[in-house]
């Protein structure tokens, strides 16, 4: 396997990490305001993601950094092309990060109510927009021969991408509800479980629709189809486990469904990284988007040493905070 393909895989891995991990803390962020009935419950919900959400977000920063280093043209075209979605994601992540840290810093009700709203919007908006962005990446966007984006905002708002947005949002909310059931006790746990049972079928139906459209209507790739089927099975299994109140298995199921969906998306995309729907010469592939072999080698070495280390100490963090939180 050459290094460009390896790095395509590495970036897929980083985004799998990002969506599986930040997926549940987005979900908890969306649920916090309505699911948490009073301040104590909202603090409890926030406490479930408190020690980890910031570390989860670094997966995005690393994924983006790796994209910049390994595929500069991919990074340049995606970030300048998806200008307004990226701007909104940034604004949302700013507001969200500040809100999570600041909400508990003052006791008054109005202060907390405002930040709760900020957490809701700051979690929902990026969830939807990442769906929009990644659906458009796999579908392709109008690119000029020099790989610059040649479309407008309306080109990004096609039905497939909108389905992607709603699917990401719904699946992350389900993932978050399952996570809350896994991390709490008593009444909150019961309600989270019930919410996952009621809302789960909707989210899973959306996911199945999105996978089917992507793998039949957008790109046909036998391996990706296999992965998509596996993602669908994991999602359905998660619902079944949730009904039996096997919360660990349910969470493993939603995590696997998200991870496999992202892998299926990247597999369907390969060897392109950003297909052009306008000038075919504009299509970016792992070959023409990549950095030269030397920096890829350097990065492979660095990632080979430090990524396992990151997995180790982030895994340790989850172990330290493994216990359920009681109200």
């Amino acid at each position: 396997m050459d290094l460009t393909t390896f790095w395509f895989g590495a970036i897929a891995f980083l985004f799998v990490g990002y969506f599986v991990l930040e997926g549940f803390d987005f979900g908890v962020g969306v649920l916090m305001r309505t699911f948490g009935r009073d301040d104590a419950e909202r603090r409890l919900l926030l406490g479930t993601i408190g020690p980890v959400w910031d570390g989860n977000e670094v997966w995005l920063i690393t994924g983006t950094g790796a994209m910049f280093a390994a595929f500069p043209h991919w990074y340049a075209s995606v970030f300048s092309g998806f200008y307004l979605p990226m701007l909104l994601i940034l604004l949302a992540l700013i507001v969200r990060g500040v809100a999570i840290e600041f909400r508990g810093k003052r006791p008054d009700h109005a202060w907390r109510a405002r930040w709760d709203l900020a957490i809701l919007v700051g979690s929902l908006l990026p969830a939807l927009l990442w769906g929009l962005v990644f659906a458009n990446i796999v579908r392709g966007v109008p690119l000029a021969a020099d790989h610059d984006y040649a479309g407008g905002l309306t080109d990004l708002l096609n039905p497939f991408a909108l389905l992607g947005a709603v699917t990401f949002g719904a699946v992350f909310v389900l993932h978050g509800a399952v996570f809350v059931a896994l991390k709490t006790t008593g009444e909150v746990r019961d309600r989270a479980n019930l919410l996952a049972s009621r809302f789960g079928p909707v989210a899973v139906a959306l996911l199945l629709g999105f996978l089917a459209w992507m793998l039949v209507g957008v790109r046909r790739d036998p391996v990706a189809v296999g992965l998509g089927i596996a993602a669908a099975v994991a999602a359905v299994a998660a619902l079944a486990a949730n009904r039996r109140r096997r919360e660990g298995w349910a969470f493993a199921g939603t995590a696997a469904a998200i991870g496999l969906t992202v892998v299926a998306l990247f597999t369907a995309l390969y060897p392109a990284v950003l297909p052009s729907t306008a000038d075919p010469a504009g299509t970016l592939t792992v070959a023409n988007a990549a950095a030269s072999p030397y920096p890829l080698k350097v990065m492979t070495l660095v990632a080979g040493v430090f990524l396992p280390l990151v997995l180790l100490y982030q895994g340790w963090t989850y172990w330290v905070f493994r216990r359920r939180l009681a109200p």
Partner: protein, 469 residues
């Protein structure tokens, strides 16, 4: 005004804003860790209370540094996509390393520190704050290595087919002499900001709330003043070396720092000048003879190249065009940086003197100076960044790529303007909120002494991480 101008303004505003929080995060982390270490060593609850108190201020500030940092990483691709395509081969690697080696460390271990008080053994818990602090210092190194490559590109070759630089030696990029000297200089600035914060907060408590935790605040006051003072010395020392390296690799920047149009030997340094707006003719100036020659080369009589001669040389080398930065900006930002930095060191010295042998600072002016002290190093580091970035213009990568050729061509003026306004508004709003919150916590004073945190307990559910959120 076109998209290029707005993109430049946006980069300036978002970067300066980001760097108001970064030095405090980087400097305050190790200071909080020091308080906790003192508590760990002595068992004296005074240090634990200081740890909690400054830890809270640290966290309020940390959040802002993180969220404004993501903007920086996205911005290269959004507004500067041609730059990203051009330099990605070289510039991307340190950025990716920063995320992988530093940001993961910083954020993961900070999460462990905030929520781990009751859950981790004391020694391990202490190690988490040091590890997080190490992560933030590492991140500073990598980003400065990336920036130094833009000032002094090394470790690459030009690919004749693509016309773009390709990385050939990562070690050369990471040991770029500009990076090696900029790193300690910037690190010292971070400690100066953090030390100054300790001075401001504790001098307020010592003088306005006498009798409340005075011993604790006096300790923090002395500690903060010492940190500021030592950092000032380190800044002067590293800044001096930095100036000489700058003269060597970017002589135009040094000439623009003095608005020196004609090559002079020996060259004097003006502390203050009133001149024409473009700085080409002076009306009144206070001049210190030989100083510029000494700052630039270490030799008080050596020749320092002027802007006009360098302009002629660059025009011959790179083709017609202007290769000088906006001279009044470089001239004054350089003086603001040096002036505010030295003033901060002087105030720290006076504060230390004012409390010799258990005395309390009495002079109203000194107390006022102590209260605004953090603004001085913050202003100095802002001016320093404006100087070093504006002084590189018109280049985005010195000698290789002009700033105007790095901007995203597919992004419209309306789009950049939208994002510039959105960031400016939201940043202004957050600055007010964060400032108020910092004041509120700084005034509230030390938290009550808690009973010692227990060692980790058994397997039962724990109450929802009290106090963290």
């Amino acid at each position: 005004m076109d998209a290029l101008d707005v993109a430049r303004w946006q980069f300036g505003v978002t970067t300066v804003y980001h760097f108001l929080f970064v030095p405090l995060t980087i400097g305050l982390g190790p200071l909080v860790a020091t308080f906790q270490t003192l508590w760990h060593r002595t068992g004296n609850p005074r240090y634990l209370r200081l740890t909690h108190f400054y830890g809270k201020l640290f966290l309020i500030n940390f959040a802002m540094g993180v969220v404004t940092g993501i903007v920086q990483e996205f911005q290269f691709g959004m507004n500067w996509s041609d730059y990203s395509r051009y330099v990605g081969d070289v510039f991307g690697a340190p950025l990716a390393m920063e995320a992988l080696l530093a940001f993961f460390l910083e954020s993961t271990f900070l999460g462990l520190w905030i929520f781990g008080w009751q859950k981790l053994p004391k020694r391990i818990h202490l190690a988490t704050i040091w590890t997080a602090a190490l992560g933030s210092i590492l991140s500073m190194f990598f980003i400065l290595a990336a920036n130094s490559w833009m000032q002094n590109p090394v470790g690459y070759r030009m690919n004749p087919d693509t016309g773009r630089p390709e990385l050939t030696d990562i070690w050369a990029v990471l040991t770029n002499k500009v990076a090696l000297i900029t790193f300690p200089h910037t690190l010292a600035a971070a400690f100066m900001v953090a030390g100054a914060l300790l001075v401001a907060v504790s001098i307020w408590h010592v003088t306005r709330r006498p009798g409340t935790d005075t011993a604790e605040h006096r300790f923090a006051l002395r500690f903060g003043a010492w940190v500021t003072l030592v950092a000032t010395a380190a800044i002067v020392f590293t800044g001096d070396i930095q100036g000489k390296i700058m003269t060597e690799v970017q002589p135009m920047k040094m000439a623009a720092a003095e608005a020196l149009y004609r090559t002079e030997a020996p060259a004097s340094f003006s502390a203050f000048t009133i001149g024409t707006l473009d700085g080409s003719r002076e009306v009144f100036a206070i001049k210190l003879p030989y100083l510029l020659s000494f700052l630039a080369t270490g030799n008080p009589t050596a020749s320092v190249q002027g802007i006009d001669d360098l302009q002629a040389r660059y025009a011959a080398e790179y083709g017609p065009g202007s290769y000088a930065p906006i001279v009044p900006v470089t001239y004054w930002s350089f003086r603001v940086m040096v002036g505010l930095g030295l003033a901060a060191g002087a105030i720290a010295l006076l504060v230390l003197w004012s409390q010799r042998r258990g005395r309390t600072p009495k002079s109203r002016w000194l107390v006022r100076a102590g209260l605004v002290l953090p603004l001085l190093p913050l202003g100095a580091s802002t001016a320093g960044w404006i100087f070093t970035e504006m002084g590189r213009q018109p280049w985005i990568v010195f000698g290789e790529l002009l700033t105007r050729n790095g901007v995203s061509r597919s992004v419209s003026l309306a789009e950049v303007l939208t994002s510039f306004l959105a960031f400016t508004l939201i940043y202004a709003l957050l600055a007010v909120i964060e400032g108020r919150l910092l004041f509120r916590y700084a005034r509230a004073g030390l938290p009550p002494a808690e009973p010692e945190p227990d060692e980790p307990s058994g397997d039962e559910d724990v109450p929802a991480l009290a106090g963290a959120y």
